[in-house]
Amino acid sequence: MSAYGSPATGVAVQAAPVARQAWAGSRQAPMLEAAGLALARDLQLAFRKRGQLVQPLAFFAMVTMLFPLAISPELARLREIAPGVLWAGALLASLLALEFLFRDDAYDGTLEQYALSGQSLTWLIFAKTAAHWLLTGLPLALMAPLAALSLGVSAAAVPGIVASVAVGSVALSLIGSIGAALTLGIKRSGALLSLLTLPLSLPVLIFGARATQLAITGGPLLAPLELLAALAVLGVTLAPLAAAAAVRISLE
Protein backbone atom coordinates (compact mmCIF):
# COMPACT_ATOMS: atom_id res chain seq x y z
CA MET A 1 0.00 0.00 0.00
CA SER A 2 2.72 2.42 0.92
CA ALA A 3 3.98 2.16 -2.65
CA TYR A 4 0.91 4.10 -3.76
CA GLY A 5 0.11 6.08 -0.66
CA SER A 6 1.27 9.64 -0.81
CA PRO A 7 3.15 10.69 2.31
CA ALA A 8 1.18 12.61 4.88
CA THR A 9 -0.15 15.57 2.99
CA GLY A 10 -2.61 16.68 5.60
CA VAL A 11 -5.46 16.93 3.12
CA ALA A 12 -8.62 17.38 5.14
CA VAL A 13 -11.62 15.39 4.03
CA GLN A 14 -14.29 17.81 2.91
CA ALA A 15 -16.80 15.58 1.29
CA ALA A 16 -19.67 15.50 3.73
CA PRO A 17 -20.52 17.83 6.58
CA VAL A 18 -20.22 15.02 9.07
CA ALA A 19 -16.76 14.23 7.84
CA ARG A 20 -15.65 17.82 7.98
CA GLN A 21 -16.64 17.96 11.58
CA ALA A 22 -14.81 14.78 12.37
CA TRP A 23 -11.67 15.78 10.52
CA ALA A 24 -11.56 19.39 11.64
CA GLY A 25 -8.08 20.60 12.34
CA SER A 26 -5.11 20.03 10.11
CA ARG A 27 -3.25 17.53 12.28
CA GLN A 28 -2.78 14.04 10.90
CA ALA A 29 -4.80 11.56 12.92
CA PRO A 30 -3.11 8.26 13.79
CA MET A 31 -4.18 5.25 11.80
CA LEU A 32 -6.60 3.67 14.23
CA GLU A 33 -8.13 6.98 15.17
CA ALA A 34 -8.75 7.76 11.52
CA ALA A 35 -10.39 4.37 11.07
CA GLY A 36 -12.54 5.00 14.13
CA LEU A 37 -13.61 8.36 12.74
CA ALA A 38 -14.51 6.78 9.41
CA LEU A 39 -16.55 4.16 11.22
CA ALA A 40 -18.37 6.76 13.31
CA ARG A 41 -19.06 8.84 10.23
CA ASP A 42 -20.60 5.89 8.37
CA LEU A 43 -22.79 4.98 11.32
CA GLN A 44 -23.93 8.57 11.72
CA LEU A 45 -24.77 8.90 8.03
CA ALA A 46 -26.66 5.62 8.10
CA PHE A 47 -28.79 6.65 11.05
CA ARG A 48 -29.78 9.80 9.18
CA LYS A 49 -31.08 7.66 6.32
CA ARG A 50 -32.89 5.03 8.32
CA GLY A 51 -35.04 3.89 5.42
CA GLN A 52 -32.05 2.33 3.73
CA LEU A 53 -31.21 0.32 6.83
CA VAL A 54 -34.55 -1.42 6.87
CA GLN A 55 -34.46 -2.54 3.23
CA PRO A 56 -32.16 -5.60 3.57
CA LEU A 57 -34.09 -6.71 6.65
CA ALA A 58 -37.41 -6.43 4.87
CA PHE A 59 -35.90 -8.30 1.95
CA PHE A 60 -34.73 -11.05 4.28
CA ALA A 61 -38.23 -11.36 5.77
CA MET A 62 -39.74 -11.52 2.28
CA VAL A 63 -37.37 -14.28 1.16
CA THR A 64 -38.21 -16.28 4.27
CA MET A 65 -41.87 -15.84 3.53
CA LEU A 66 -41.50 -17.17 0.00
CA PHE A 67 -40.71 -20.69 1.15
CA PRO A 68 -43.84 -21.52 3.16
CA LEU A 69 -45.86 -20.11 0.27
CA ALA A 70 -43.93 -21.98 -2.40
CA ILE A 71 -43.36 -25.30 -0.65
CA SER A 72 -45.86 -25.99 2.08
CA PRO A 73 -47.08 -24.47 5.33
CA GLU A 74 -46.33 -27.68 7.24
CA LEU A 75 -44.00 -26.73 10.07
CA ALA A 76 -42.35 -30.15 10.11
CA ARG A 77 -41.17 -29.73 6.53
CA LEU A 78 -40.26 -26.11 7.00
CA ARG A 79 -38.16 -26.96 10.04
CA GLU A 80 -36.16 -29.34 7.89
CA ILE A 81 -35.32 -26.72 5.27
CA ALA A 82 -35.01 -23.84 7.76
CA PRO A 83 -31.16 -23.69 7.77
CA GLY A 84 -31.05 -23.46 3.99
CA VAL A 85 -33.82 -20.86 3.88
CA LEU A 86 -32.20 -18.71 6.57
CA TRP A 87 -28.78 -18.80 4.96
CA ALA A 88 -29.91 -18.30 1.40
CA GLY A 89 -31.99 -15.37 2.67
CA ALA A 90 -29.11 -13.91 4.69
CA LEU A 91 -26.72 -14.29 1.75
CA LEU A 92 -29.09 -12.55 -0.64
CA ALA A 93 -29.91 -9.80 1.84
CA SER A 94 -26.25 -9.06 2.50
CA LEU A 95 -25.64 -9.05 -1.25
CA LEU A 96 -28.42 -6.52 -1.69
CA ALA A 97 -26.93 -4.34 1.04
CA LEU A 98 -23.48 -4.40 -0.58
CA GLU A 99 -24.54 -1.91 -3.21
CA PHE A 100 -24.71 0.75 -0.50
CA LEU A 101 -21.25 -0.02 0.84
CA PHE A 102 -19.18 2.28 -1.40
CA ARG A 103 -21.68 3.74 -3.84
CA ASP A 104 -22.59 7.02 -2.13
CA ASP A 105 -19.03 7.71 -1.08
CA ALA A 106 -17.82 7.07 -4.59
CA TYR A 107 -20.41 9.49 -5.98
CA ASP A 108 -19.66 12.41 -3.69
CA GLY A 109 -15.88 11.98 -3.79
CA THR A 110 -15.38 10.85 -0.21
CA LEU A 111 -13.55 7.72 -1.33
CA GLU A 112 -11.14 9.81 -3.37
CA GLN A 113 -10.48 11.98 -0.35
CA TYR A 114 -9.85 8.86 1.70
CA ALA A 115 -7.36 7.65 -0.88
CA LEU A 116 -5.57 11.01 -0.92
CA SER A 117 -5.68 11.57 2.82
CA GLY A 118 -2.34 9.91 3.47
CA GLN A 119 -4.02 7.53 5.85
CA SER A 120 -3.86 3.82 5.22
CA LEU A 121 -6.69 3.16 2.78
CA THR A 122 -6.77 -0.46 3.95
CA TRP A 123 -7.75 0.64 7.46
CA LEU A 124 -10.33 3.10 6.20
CA ILE A 125 -11.90 0.44 3.98
CA PHE A 126 -11.84 -1.97 6.89
CA ALA A 127 -13.65 0.64 8.99
CA LYS A 128 -16.26 1.11 6.28
CA THR A 129 -16.76 -2.63 6.06
CA ALA A 130 -17.06 -2.88 9.83
CA ALA A 131 -19.72 -0.16 9.79
CA HIS A 132 -21.48 -2.04 7.02
CA TRP A 133 -21.50 -5.19 9.11
CA LEU A 134 -22.84 -3.33 12.16
CA LEU A 135 -25.61 -1.92 10.00
CA THR A 136 -26.59 -5.03 8.05
CA GLY A 137 -24.88 -8.19 9.33
CA LEU A 138 -25.67 -7.68 12.99
CA PRO A 139 -29.34 -6.74 12.42
CA LEU A 140 -29.65 -9.80 10.16
CA ALA A 141 -28.23 -11.98 12.92
CA LEU A 142 -30.71 -10.50 15.38
CA MET A 143 -33.56 -11.00 12.98
CA ALA A 144 -32.65 -14.54 11.92
CA PRO A 145 -34.19 -16.14 15.07
CA LEU A 146 -37.46 -14.41 14.31
CA ALA A 147 -37.47 -15.91 10.83
CA ALA A 148 -36.39 -19.26 12.28
CA LEU A 149 -39.26 -19.27 14.79
CA SER A 150 -41.69 -18.61 11.97
CA LEU A 151 -40.34 -21.74 10.28
CA GLY A 152 -41.16 -23.88 13.30
CA VAL A 153 -37.72 -23.93 14.89
CA SER A 154 -37.75 -24.27 18.67
CA ALA A 155 -36.57 -21.40 20.85
CA ALA A 156 -33.68 -23.48 22.18
CA ALA A 157 -31.91 -23.05 18.85
CA VAL A 158 -31.89 -19.25 19.01
CA PRO A 159 -28.41 -18.68 20.52
CA GLY A 160 -26.79 -20.99 17.99
CA ILE A 161 -28.56 -19.33 15.08
CA VAL A 162 -27.63 -15.82 16.24
CA ALA A 163 -24.01 -16.86 16.72
CA SER A 164 -23.69 -18.53 13.33
CA VAL A 165 -25.33 -15.70 11.38
CA ALA A 166 -23.36 -13.07 13.31
CA VAL A 167 -20.00 -14.74 12.65
CA GLY A 168 -20.86 -15.76 9.10
CA SER A 169 -22.06 -12.30 8.11
CA VAL A 170 -18.65 -10.87 9.11
CA ALA A 171 -17.11 -13.05 6.43
CA LEU A 172 -19.89 -12.16 3.97
CA SER A 173 -19.39 -8.40 4.47
CA LEU A 174 -15.64 -8.74 3.97
CA ILE A 175 -15.87 -10.91 0.87
CA GLY A 176 -18.54 -8.60 -0.45
CA SER A 177 -16.39 -5.52 0.08
CA ILE A 178 -13.97 -6.81 -2.57
CA GLY A 179 -16.75 -7.34 -5.10
CA ALA A 180 -18.32 -3.98 -4.30
CA ALA A 181 -14.98 -2.22 -4.73
CA LEU A 182 -14.27 -3.96 -8.03
CA THR A 183 -17.64 -3.07 -9.54
CA LEU A 184 -17.52 0.59 -8.45
CA GLY A 185 -18.56 2.83 -11.27
CA ILE A 186 -20.02 0.07 -13.43
CA LYS A 187 -23.59 0.90 -14.34
CA ARG A 188 -26.24 -1.67 -13.44
CA SER A 189 -23.65 -3.73 -11.63
CA GLY A 190 -26.11 -5.73 -9.49
CA ALA A 191 -25.97 -8.95 -11.48
CA LEU A 192 -22.21 -8.70 -11.93
CA LEU A 193 -21.72 -8.07 -8.22
CA SER A 194 -23.64 -11.22 -7.36
CA LEU A 195 -21.73 -13.21 -9.98
CA LEU A 196 -18.45 -12.07 -8.40
CA THR A 197 -19.47 -12.43 -4.77
CA LEU A 198 -21.65 -15.54 -4.56
CA PRO A 199 -19.09 -18.16 -5.65
CA LEU A 200 -16.63 -16.79 -3.10
CA SER A 201 -19.31 -16.81 -0.40
CA LEU A 202 -20.26 -20.46 -0.80
CA PRO A 203 -17.97 -21.80 1.96
CA VAL A 204 -19.66 -19.37 4.38
CA LEU A 205 -23.04 -20.65 3.25
CA ILE A 206 -21.99 -24.27 3.71
CA PHE A 207 -20.56 -23.88 7.20
CA GLY A 208 -23.23 -21.43 8.27
CA ALA A 209 -26.10 -23.66 7.19
CA ARG A 210 -24.42 -26.61 8.86
CA ALA A 211 -24.00 -24.72 12.14
CA THR A 212 -27.62 -23.59 11.98
CA GLN A 213 -28.80 -27.10 11.28
CA LEU A 214 -26.88 -28.44 14.28
CA ALA A 215 -28.30 -25.64 16.41
CA ILE A 216 -31.80 -26.66 15.39
CA THR A 217 -31.29 -30.38 15.97
CA GLY A 218 -29.39 -29.74 19.19
CA GLY A 219 -26.11 -31.19 17.94
CA PRO A 220 -22.57 -29.98 18.70
CA LEU A 221 -22.24 -26.90 16.52
CA LEU A 222 -18.84 -25.76 17.70
CA ALA A 223 -16.89 -27.26 14.78
CA PRO A 224 -18.73 -25.49 11.92
CA LEU A 225 -18.89 -22.34 14.04
CA GLU A 226 -15.13 -22.41 14.43
CA LEU A 227 -14.70 -22.91 10.70
CA LEU A 228 -16.97 -19.91 10.14
CA ALA A 229 -14.83 -17.93 12.55
CA ALA A 230 -11.72 -19.06 10.68
CA LEU A 231 -13.20 -17.75 7.43
CA ALA A 232 -14.06 -14.48 9.17
CA VAL A 233 -10.50 -14.14 10.51
CA LEU A 234 -9.05 -14.89 7.09
CA GLY A 235 -11.39 -12.28 5.67
CA VAL A 236 -10.36 -9.67 8.24
CA THR A 237 -6.72 -10.34 7.42
CA LEU A 238 -6.83 -10.30 3.64
CA ALA A 239 -10.08 -8.81 2.34
CA PRO A 240 -9.41 -5.16 3.31
CA LEU A 241 -6.08 -5.30 1.46
CA ALA A 242 -7.75 -6.58 -1.70
CA ALA A 243 -10.69 -4.20 -1.35
CA ALA A 244 -8.38 -1.20 -0.84
CA ALA A 245 -6.38 -2.19 -3.92
CA ALA A 246 -9.63 -2.52 -5.84
CA VAL A 247 -10.84 0.90 -4.67
CA ARG A 248 -7.58 2.48 -5.83
CA ILE A 249 -7.92 0.83 -9.22
CA SER A 250 -11.50 2.07 -9.48
CA LEU A 251 -10.45 5.61 -8.65
CA GLU A 252 -7.61 5.75 -11.18
Binding site: L182, L195, L196, I206
Partner: protein, 245 residues
Protein backbone atom coordinates in the same frame (compact mmCIF):
# COMPACT_ATOMS: atom_id res chain seq x y z
CA UNK B 1 22.46 -8.59 -19.47
CA UNK B 2 21.49 -12.16 -18.76
CA UNK B 3 18.01 -10.88 -18.00
CA UNK B 4 17.42 -9.28 -21.37
CA UNK B 5 15.43 -12.29 -22.57
CA UNK B 6 13.09 -11.73 -19.64
CA UNK B 7 12.72 -8.00 -20.16
CA UNK B 8 11.97 -8.52 -23.83
CA UNK B 9 8.93 -10.54 -22.78
CA UNK B 10 7.41 -7.27 -21.66
CA UNK B 11 7.52 -5.84 -25.17
CA UNK B 12 4.36 -6.43 -27.23
CA UNK B 13 6.02 -6.59 -30.71
CA UNK B 14 8.57 -9.10 -29.47
CA UNK B 15 5.91 -11.24 -27.79
CA UNK B 16 3.74 -11.03 -30.90
CA UNK B 17 6.43 -12.51 -33.16
CA UNK B 18 7.63 -14.94 -30.49
CA UNK B 19 4.10 -16.30 -30.04
CA UNK B 20 3.78 -16.78 -33.78
CA UNK B 21 7.08 -18.67 -33.89
CA UNK B 22 6.27 -20.86 -30.87
CA UNK B 23 2.70 -21.82 -31.82
CA UNK B 24 3.60 -24.77 -34.11
CA UNK B 25 5.94 -26.15 -31.44
CA UNK B 26 2.93 -26.52 -29.19
CA UNK B 27 0.26 -27.30 -31.76
CA UNK B 28 1.92 -30.23 -33.54
CA UNK B 29 2.98 -32.23 -30.47
CA UNK B 30 -0.45 -31.54 -29.00
CA UNK B 31 -2.18 -32.91 -32.10
CA UNK B 32 0.05 -36.02 -32.17
CA UNK B 33 -0.38 -36.70 -28.45
CA UNK B 34 -4.15 -36.23 -28.54
CA UNK B 35 -4.55 -38.47 -31.60
CA UNK B 36 -2.25 -41.07 -30.04
CA UNK B 37 -3.96 -40.82 -26.66
CA UNK B 38 -7.42 -41.14 -28.19
CA UNK B 39 -6.31 -44.16 -30.21
CA UNK B 40 -4.78 -45.73 -27.12
CA UNK B 41 -7.76 -44.89 -24.93
CA UNK B 42 -10.64 -45.66 -27.25
CA UNK B 43 -9.20 -48.59 -29.20
CA UNK B 44 -6.24 -50.23 -27.47
CA UNK B 45 -7.22 -49.98 -23.79
CA UNK B 46 -9.39 -52.86 -22.53
CA UNK B 47 -12.89 -52.09 -21.21
CA UNK B 48 -13.10 -51.53 -17.47
CA UNK B 49 -14.30 -54.60 -15.59
CA UNK B 50 -16.91 -52.54 -13.70
CA UNK B 51 -17.83 -49.75 -16.05
CA UNK B 52 -17.37 -51.42 -19.41
CA UNK B 53 -16.75 -48.97 -22.21
CA UNK B 54 -18.33 -46.13 -20.25
CA UNK B 55 -15.07 -45.39 -18.49
CA UNK B 56 -13.48 -44.23 -21.74
CA UNK B 57 -14.92 -40.76 -21.31
CA UNK B 58 -12.20 -40.28 -18.70
CA UNK B 59 -9.80 -39.61 -21.58
CA UNK B 60 -11.58 -36.33 -22.22
CA UNK B 61 -13.10 -35.63 -18.81
CA UNK B 62 -10.04 -35.90 -16.58
CA UNK B 63 -7.73 -33.80 -18.79
CA UNK B 64 -10.45 -31.14 -19.13
CA UNK B 65 -10.94 -30.99 -15.37
CA UNK B 66 -7.17 -30.86 -14.88
CA UNK B 67 -6.85 -28.06 -17.40
CA UNK B 68 -9.71 -26.07 -15.88
CA UNK B 69 -7.68 -25.71 -12.67
CA UNK B 70 -4.33 -25.28 -14.37
CA UNK B 71 -5.61 -22.51 -16.61
CA UNK B 72 -7.08 -20.70 -13.61
CA UNK B 73 -3.75 -20.90 -11.82
CA UNK B 74 -1.91 -19.70 -14.92
CA UNK B 75 -4.37 -16.84 -15.23
CA UNK B 76 -3.94 -15.83 -11.59
CA UNK B 77 -0.14 -15.98 -11.79
CA UNK B 78 -0.12 -13.90 -14.98
CA UNK B 79 -2.57 -11.45 -13.41
CA UNK B 80 -0.45 -11.14 -10.27
CA UNK B 81 2.68 -10.54 -12.37
CA UNK B 82 0.83 -7.87 -14.30
CA UNK B 83 -0.51 -6.28 -11.13
CA UNK B 84 2.80 -6.23 -9.26
CA UNK B 85 5.23 -5.30 -12.03
CA UNK B 86 2.70 -3.53 -14.23
CA UNK B 87 3.54 -5.60 -17.29
CA UNK B 88 0.92 -5.13 -19.99
CA UNK B 89 1.73 -8.40 -21.74
CA UNK B 90 1.09 -10.36 -18.52
CA UNK B 91 -2.39 -8.83 -18.35
CA UNK B 92 -2.91 -9.83 -21.97
CA UNK B 93 -1.95 -13.41 -21.07
CA UNK B 94 -4.43 -13.44 -18.17
CA UNK B 95 -7.19 -12.04 -20.34
CA UNK B 96 -6.49 -14.67 -23.03
CA UNK B 97 -6.60 -17.48 -20.46
CA UNK B 98 -10.12 -16.87 -19.20
CA UNK B 99 -12.23 -18.01 -22.18
CA UNK B 100 -10.00 -21.06 -22.69
CA UNK B 101 -10.32 -22.04 -19.04
CA UNK B 102 -14.06 -21.50 -19.07
CA UNK B 103 -14.32 -23.78 -22.13
CA UNK B 104 -12.29 -26.51 -20.44
CA UNK B 105 -14.47 -26.20 -17.34
CA UNK B 106 -17.58 -26.42 -19.45
CA UNK B 107 -16.20 -29.48 -21.25
CA UNK B 108 -15.40 -31.12 -17.89
CA UNK B 109 -18.95 -30.46 -16.70
CA UNK B 110 -20.60 -31.79 -19.85
CA UNK B 111 -18.45 -34.92 -20.00
CA UNK B 112 -18.99 -35.43 -16.27
CA UNK B 113 -22.74 -35.25 -16.74
CA UNK B 114 -22.62 -37.64 -19.71
CA UNK B 115 -20.54 -40.00 -17.65
CA UNK B 116 -22.93 -39.73 -14.74
CA UNK B 117 -25.83 -41.04 -16.79
CA UNK B 118 -24.54 -44.62 -17.18
CA UNK B 119 -22.69 -44.66 -13.84
CA UNK B 120 -25.07 -42.97 -11.41
CA UNK B 121 -28.24 -43.28 -13.47
CA UNK B 122 -28.60 -39.50 -13.54
CA UNK B 123 -26.99 -36.71 -15.51
CA UNK B 124 -26.37 -34.56 -12.50
CA UNK B 125 -25.25 -35.71 -9.10
CA UNK B 126 -24.15 -33.21 -6.44
CA UNK B 127 -20.79 -34.84 -6.37
CA UNK B 128 -18.11 -32.64 -4.74
CA UNK B 129 -15.88 -32.60 -7.80
CA UNK B 130 -18.67 -31.73 -10.20
CA UNK B 131 -19.95 -29.07 -7.80
CA UNK B 132 -16.47 -27.54 -7.45
CA UNK B 133 -16.18 -27.54 -11.25
CA UNK B 134 -19.51 -25.70 -11.49
CA UNK B 135 -18.34 -23.08 -8.98
CA UNK B 136 -15.11 -22.72 -10.94
CA UNK B 137 -17.16 -22.03 -14.05
CA UNK B 138 -18.90 -19.21 -12.17
CA UNK B 139 -15.52 -17.84 -11.10
CA UNK B 140 -14.45 -17.74 -14.76
CA UNK B 141 -17.74 -16.14 -15.78
CA UNK B 142 -17.35 -13.52 -13.05
CA UNK B 143 -13.84 -12.72 -14.24
CA UNK B 144 -14.99 -12.34 -17.84
CA UNK B 145 -18.07 -10.41 -16.74
CA UNK B 146 -15.94 -7.93 -14.82
CA UNK B 147 -13.63 -7.46 -17.80
CA UNK B 148 -16.62 -6.94 -20.07
CA UNK B 149 -18.17 -4.47 -17.64
CA UNK B 150 -15.12 -2.19 -17.54
CA UNK B 151 -14.51 -0.31 -20.75
CA UNK B 152 -11.08 1.06 -19.98
CA UNK B 153 -8.61 -1.76 -20.74
CA UNK B 154 -6.13 -0.73 -18.06
CA UNK B 155 -8.75 -0.62 -15.37
CA UNK B 156 -10.24 -3.91 -16.59
CA UNK B 157 -6.76 -5.45 -16.44
CA UNK B 158 -6.02 -4.35 -12.92
CA UNK B 159 -9.49 -4.93 -11.45
CA UNK B 160 -9.78 -8.40 -12.97
CA UNK B 161 -6.27 -9.19 -11.75
CA UNK B 162 -7.34 -8.47 -8.16
CA UNK B 163 -10.34 -10.73 -8.71
CA UNK B 164 -8.18 -13.54 -10.13
CA UNK B 165 -5.81 -13.38 -7.16
CA UNK B 166 -8.71 -13.35 -4.68
CA UNK B 167 -10.23 -16.26 -6.59
CA UNK B 168 -7.10 -18.37 -6.52
CA UNK B 169 -6.86 -17.94 -2.74
CA UNK B 170 -10.47 -19.10 -2.51
CA UNK B 171 -10.37 -22.07 -4.88
CA UNK B 172 -8.87 -24.49 -2.31
CA UNK B 173 -11.21 -23.21 0.42
CA UNK B 174 -14.20 -23.72 -1.86
CA UNK B 175 -12.99 -27.15 -2.88
CA UNK B 176 -12.51 -28.41 0.67
CA UNK B 177 -15.71 -26.90 2.00
CA UNK B 178 -17.66 -28.51 -0.85
CA UNK B 179 -16.00 -31.87 -0.16
CA UNK B 180 -16.85 -31.55 3.52
CA UNK B 181 -20.41 -30.50 2.73
CA UNK B 182 -20.85 -33.47 0.47
CA UNK B 183 -19.50 -36.02 2.91
CA UNK B 184 -22.22 -34.90 5.35
CA UNK B 185 -25.06 -35.38 2.97
CA UNK B 186 -24.37 -38.61 1.23
CA UNK B 187 -22.72 -41.87 2.04
CA UNK B 188 -19.25 -42.08 0.52
CA UNK B 189 -20.43 -44.89 -1.74
CA UNK B 190 -19.94 -42.84 -4.89
CA UNK B 191 -17.50 -44.58 -7.11
CA UNK B 192 -13.86 -43.89 -6.57
CA UNK B 193 -12.25 -43.33 -9.88
CA UNK B 194 -8.74 -42.24 -9.28
CA UNK B 195 -7.55 -45.72 -8.44
CA UNK B 196 -3.81 -45.73 -8.12
CA UNK B 197 -3.83 -49.24 -9.52
CA UNK B 198 -4.78 -48.30 -13.04
CA UNK B 199 -3.45 -50.74 -15.62
CA UNK B 200 -0.65 -49.33 -17.76
CA UNK B 201 -2.66 -49.84 -20.96
CA UNK B 202 -5.29 -47.48 -19.51
CA UNK B 203 -2.92 -45.08 -17.78
CA UNK B 204 -0.50 -44.35 -20.61
CA UNK B 205 -3.17 -42.97 -22.97
CA UNK B 206 -4.52 -40.85 -20.09
CA UNK B 207 -1.10 -39.34 -19.46
CA UNK B 208 -0.71 -38.72 -23.20
CA UNK B 209 -4.05 -36.91 -23.20
CA UNK B 210 -3.03 -34.84 -20.17
CA UNK B 211 0.18 -33.72 -21.82
CA UNK B 212 -1.60 -33.24 -25.15
CA UNK B 213 -4.27 -31.04 -23.55
CA UNK B 214 -1.62 -28.99 -21.76
CA UNK B 215 0.24 -28.37 -25.02
CA UNK B 216 -3.05 -27.66 -26.77
CA UNK B 217 -3.77 -25.01 -24.14
CA UNK B 218 -0.32 -23.54 -24.81
CA UNK B 219 -1.01 -23.36 -28.54
CA UNK B 220 -4.46 -21.80 -28.15
CA UNK B 221 -3.12 -19.37 -25.55
CA UNK B 222 -0.39 -18.21 -27.96
CA UNK B 223 -2.91 -17.66 -30.75
CA UNK B 224 -5.28 -15.78 -28.44
CA UNK B 225 -2.39 -13.79 -27.02
CA UNK B 226 -1.48 -12.56 -30.49
CA UNK B 227 -5.06 -11.46 -31.04
CA UNK B 228 -5.14 -9.76 -27.66
CA UNK B 229 -1.84 -7.93 -28.30
CA UNK B 230 -3.06 -6.85 -31.74
CA UNK B 231 -6.29 -5.42 -30.40
CA UNK B 232 -4.54 -3.65 -27.51
CA UNK B 233 -1.79 -2.16 -29.65
CA UNK B 234 -4.04 -1.36 -32.58
CA UNK B 235 -2.82 2.22 -32.80
CA UNK B 236 0.90 1.39 -32.41
CA UNK B 237 3.26 1.99 -35.29
CA UNK B 238 4.78 -1.50 -35.29
CA UNK B 239 1.41 -2.96 -36.18
CA UNK B 240 1.17 -0.69 -39.20
CA UNK B 241 4.56 -2.00 -40.32
CA UNK B 242 3.43 -5.62 -39.92
CA UNK B 243 0.23 -4.98 -41.83
CA UNK B 244 2.14 -3.31 -44.67
CA UNK B 245 4.70 -6.10 -44.93
Amino acid sequence: MTWTWFHRLGSPPYVYTLAARLTPWFAWPAALLIIGGLWGGLVLAPPDYQQGDGFRIIYVHAPSAWMSLMVYTTMAVAAAVGLIWRIKVAHAVAASCAPIGASFTFAALVTGALWGEPMWGTYWEWDPRLTSELILLFLYLGYMGLRAGLEDTQRADRASAVLAVVGVVNVPIIHYSVTWWNSLHQAPSVMRLAKPTMAASMLVPLLMMLLGFTLFFGAVLLVRLRGEVLSRERSASWIREIVKA
